[in-house]
Assembly symmetry: C2
Homo-oligomer: 342 residues x 2
């Protein structure tokens, strides 16, 4: 059987960043796709998800996952359409989600693929509110945060993919919800559209004072995505038995050394001790993908009924992924950042 020659475009890691990534750390390549073997499927990428965790994969510092090798395709989740299948579990036209990387096409044996939820208004939702970021926010909140009506929750990156799910689901559970975001536009969106009780601009000079004023009863759950000065402002406001689900630290991803100045480690430890509080790190793939059904059953109706809203920041074309990713680490996106690949 002869096969049509498919030219795959892909973004590879050209070099490891020192501090913030630059365009030179990435390289766009073209290659012919190899022939499809029995058991394999050939995929065409529709939407590539760009997420802060990818910064970790660009470095070879110890982490929970192996780094991307130099000259290898950048790691990333995407929603794709099956173009050809020699695997009985998949047929042409199926929409699938998997860690298929920053590329226009990919070949898989199917073991790393999940079927996308059916009948989505946009396939991109399968890598956003109903994908990895949504699962991260929902499961981290429910399983570690254990929200109780009347409590107060704070989440930063509140207009983003994870933070917006965390805050809206917490509101539906009867909590007071305070977001943190960068800039007036994002804060207005978080309050007016997402229904948070308040949102504080982390660029404000008096950020810590504003945050304190917004949580008159203290903070019971701090969903940690950012670290940095937001965390330092949150620590003194934590209540007894506060819970801190920890799945991101975007403020630190580009750091090359520890900040000088007062050592805040003792402050955190004293607070955890005197408040009997808990911090727990989690990685959504490891901890919660076996509970995907639970998530989908809870979240699909909420999204369909408009009770959980979401916003996407769509960039056109794989070649623009590096710039978009660099901007993501600087908070330049507004909503879940996805690349429309084809």
């Amino acid at each position: 059987m002869t096969q049509e020659l498919i030219l795959n475009q892909r973004v590879v890691l050209a070099s490891r960043p020192q501090g913030a990534p630059t365009p030179e750390n990435f390289r766009l390549e073209r290659e012919a796709l190899p022939d499809l073997q029995d058991g394999q499927v050939q995929l065409r990428t529709l939407y590539l998800s760009l997420d802060p965790y990818m910064r970790g994969r660009m470095s070879d510092a110890p982490s929970y996952a192996a780094p991307v090798e130099i000259d290898a395709v950048m790691e990333g989740g995407a929603v794709s359409v099956v173009e050809q299948s020699r695997n009985p579990k998949f047929k042409e036209g199926d929409l699938v989600v998997g860690q298929t990387g920053w590329q226009t096409h990919s070949i898989s044996d199917g073991s790393n693929l999940l079927m996308a939820p059916k009948d989505l208004p946009s396939p991109s939702m399968a890598v956003g509110v109903l994908g990895m970021p949504g699962i991260t926010g929902y499961m981290g909140l429910m399983d570690i945060g254990k929200p109780k009506a009347g409590e107060t929750l704070v989440v930063a990156a509140a207009s983003g993919a994870v933070g917006s799910v965390v805050g809206q689901v917490a509101k539906l559970n009867g909590l007071r919800v305070v977001g943190v975001a960068g800039g007036e536009d994002k804060c207005r969106y978080v309050v007016d559209e997402l229904g948070f009780d308040a949102c504080i601009d982390h660029r404000s000079d008096d950020f810590a004072e504003q945050l304190k004023a917004a949580v008159p009863n203290g903070i019971d759950i701090y969903f940690e995505l950012v670290g940095g000065k937001v965390l330092e402002s949150v620590i003194p406001l934590l209540n007894e038995r506060a819970r801190v689900p920890l799945c991101g630290l975007i403020a630190h991803y580009n750091a090359q050394s520890e900040p000088e100045g007062a050592n805040r480690l003792p402050l955190l430890m004293r607070t955890l001790l005197t408040k009997r509080a808990k911090i727990q790190g989690f990685i959504v793939y490891e901890e919660y993908y076996h509970r995907l059904d639970e998530f989908m059953q809870a979240m699909i109706p909420l999204v369909k009924d408009g009770k959980v809203k979401f916003r996407e920041d769509v960039v056109e074309g794989l070649e623009n992924a590096p710039d978009a990713f660099i901007g993501l680490l600087d908070g330049k996106n507004f909503g879940k950042l996805v690349v429309k690949v084809s």
Copy 2:
């Protein structure tokens, strides 16, 4: 009914310490005990327990418990004998444990008293290995630490009241156990008598390197009692899904400001994230006193059979309690510090 006049000696808080406590922060007083009312018992203190947490009660900084007021008797747990009872639940000669304070006698309505375990070789054990420190170590280890055979545990203050219980119970659960203690004598005791696999002297110049060499498979449980440089040395050695039960930070209790230098907060947070690790603060009275029976059933046989050993550092006379307590915060005691009051 006429009652014999009983002269009570007590140590009150004369002033709040700035940094390390000094003898001037305490004052020894004598007072006549008031007459016993219906429902009350009159107690004579046998052994007063001195514990690091008491430093927190001397300050009026926010904490999980109210501070001791100036001129009020110092807070502390003790084992006492019932001298007179007008409460049907207690009879003369009963041994009881409670937060009766730094004094030779006390009067109680019984609500804050527990019966001491029967047939102890020394009543002092009721405030040590079978009292608050023992419960703290045992429950924090089992409930938050969740030890599994083959894992590695590190505990500092390893020759002390809590640390010695943590390490020995962990050994009985099949863990590799590494202690940290101050000085050669304590380290020798921890290994030779308590049976830890290793013990590192935190006064060594190359403490961090020695600790690393002692945990070739990393650290799965770090039972946190001390903070400071031990914690900073532990952080890089934590394994995936490590657990850190946190119930003390003795290295910080006398601190008057945050240490300058590198801010280790980001390092801790990154470690918790990438290792999916957990830190959880707990206060034994709040979390675990309802599980006292579970503790006693597990621990009394271990102590009676000599499987959990303990060492006491006994100071004679209430008047020596302030100096002994000041030394405790400086690691001068060797074993559980108790004051033989009468």
